[in-house]
């Protein structure tokens, strides 16, 4: 049994994981994925869009994280994510629909469309699908 530390996964809407004892975490840092084990050096990392994985009693769980921050301390890791979805609960069809809709609204070129928002939505959906695919393999 390896040493454990606690993980908090929080989004602005709700706290998804609270004080969960885990053995390891992989974070989607901006500069690439980053593994964290117990006793990691204290650090603040900016997160990109990507997959967050953790092991609890040998079982791996995966989330699609929509950017944010992680605060790594000696015994605790706090992940502040803009959004987080459990990989198993991501519906690829739904994401495809979302991308389609966003692309449609982009191509209409109306003045009142928030381009940044539409692009962000596409990026987020793609990231969720990528996580889902990774998770299935």
């Amino acid at each position: 049994m390896s040493k454990t530390f606690t993980l908090n996964l929080i989004t602005p809407q709700r706290q998804i994981l609270q004080d969960l004892p885990v053995e390891s975490i992989v974070l989607p840092a901006l500069s690439g994925e980053m593994g964290v084990l117990a006793g990691h050096i204290p650090m603040v990392v900016q997160l990109g869009l990507g997959s967050l994985r953790y092991k609890q009693e040998g079982i791996e769980k995966e989330f699609a994280v929509m950017g944010g921050f992680a605060e790594i301390m000696h015994t605790t890791v706090n992940v502040f994510a803009e959004g987080a979805d459990l990989a198993e609960e991501i519906d690829e069809e739904e994401e495809k629909q979302k991308i389609k809709r966003a692309k449609e609204s982009l191509s209409r070129k109306d003045a009142d469309i928030d381009f940044e928002l539409a692009e962000l939505e596409i990026k987020q959906s793609l990231a969720r699908m990528k996580v889902k695919k990774r998770h299935l393999n």
Partner: protein, 302 residues
């Protein structure tokens, strides 16, 4: 003396008002459950993030070396040496409607006290809720200016509202070079009570340090500390505004519920006293009639 008809009409009017109040109470109590839930869900993000910034602020300041970084970078959020102390911001969060007891009055009283204290300064006000906006608008003072107002967002607050408010605050903070920003709102304590809060939200040097950092561990930052703070602080701002809006929303609903409950109880008492009065008047009328008949009969006999 009031006639029977007047009293009956009065009772009817009070009863229908009471019914409206009871309905409003029920609407509030149905909404409050949801409001409380989203508030409880949003609390951890804002509080934990505040804790993190509070923990890190010393370190950020220690790692901010050059003067230019101090003026332009992340530390403006934290220390704000260059801000103009004679220009300050004030965020006032009230409800859109009255009918909530002292909910709005308490906030506005605190706002007046704040404005009095700072009457020699320029105050830029951010108003959430109609009551606050209308109240501040009536001041007509040169040094008080509403720079942002948002109305009708209760009781359906979303993160988007918080984002707009947070962005507006940060924008004014930088563009007008404000010395500080203060927030006045009602915190939700329980369904029975709200608590007035007056908090300094910018710059962050007023933040209390939460964790005792005796082991003085040094944090690494990836990417650099300035970049992280430049992105982190706006997010923290928005998350915190989201929490505050949800707190106000729940507190407002709770206040409405209590006020309406008390009002419909009062109305019930009023109906009862009027009922007694009605009976008395009716009885007096009957007695008078009997007297008339008896007098008449006696006059005939006599």
């Amino acid at each position: 003396m009031e006639s029977l008809r007047d009293i009956r009409q009065n009772i009817k009017a009070i009863k229908s008002t009471q019914q409206i109040m009871q309905t409003m109470k029920m609407i509030s109590s149905a909404r409050i459950r949801k409001a409380q839930e989203s508030m409880d869900n949003a609390r951890p993000f804002a509080t934990k993030m505040l804790e993190m910034v509070a923990d890190l602020k010393e370190e950020v300041l220690a790692q901010t070396d050059t003067e230019s970084e101090i003026e332009s970078g992340a530390s403006r959020f934290l220390l704000n040496k260059t801000g103009n102390p004679n220009k300050i911001g004030l965020v006032v969060i009230t409800g859109d409607k009255g009918l909530a007891g002292s909910f709005n009055a308490v906030i506005l009283r605190a706002a007046v006290a704040f404005l009095k204290k700072h009457q020699d300064k320029e105050v830029f006000v951010f108003c959430i809720g109609k009551k606050g906006r209308d109240f501040i608008n009536r001041f007509h003072k040169k040094n008080i200016q509403i720079v942002y107002s948002s109305i009708g967002i209760f009781p359906k607050v979303t993160y988007a509202h918080a984002e707009l408010l947070g962005e507006a605050i940060l924008k004014e903070y930088f563009e007008r070079n404000l010395g500080s920003v203060t927030l006045i709102y009602n915190d939700f304590k329980s369904r029975g009570s709200q608590q007035l809060r007056e908090a300094s939200i910018l710059p962050f040097n007023a933040l209390p340090t939460v964790h005792d950092k005796t082991d003085d561990t040094e944090f690494l930052f990836e990417p650099g500390v300035q970049e992280i703070f430049r992105i982190l602080v706006p997010r923290l701002m928005k998350a915190n505004m989201y929490r505050v809006l949800l707190e106000s929303q729940a507190a407002n609903l709770a206040a409405t519920m209590n006020a309406m409950d008390a009002a419909s109880k009062n109305a019930g008492e009023l109906v009862q006293t009027l009922g007694v009065k009605l009976n008395k008047v009716r009885q007096a009328g009957i007695t008078n009639e009997i007297l008339d008949i008896v007098n008449g009969a006696e006059a005939l006999n006599g």
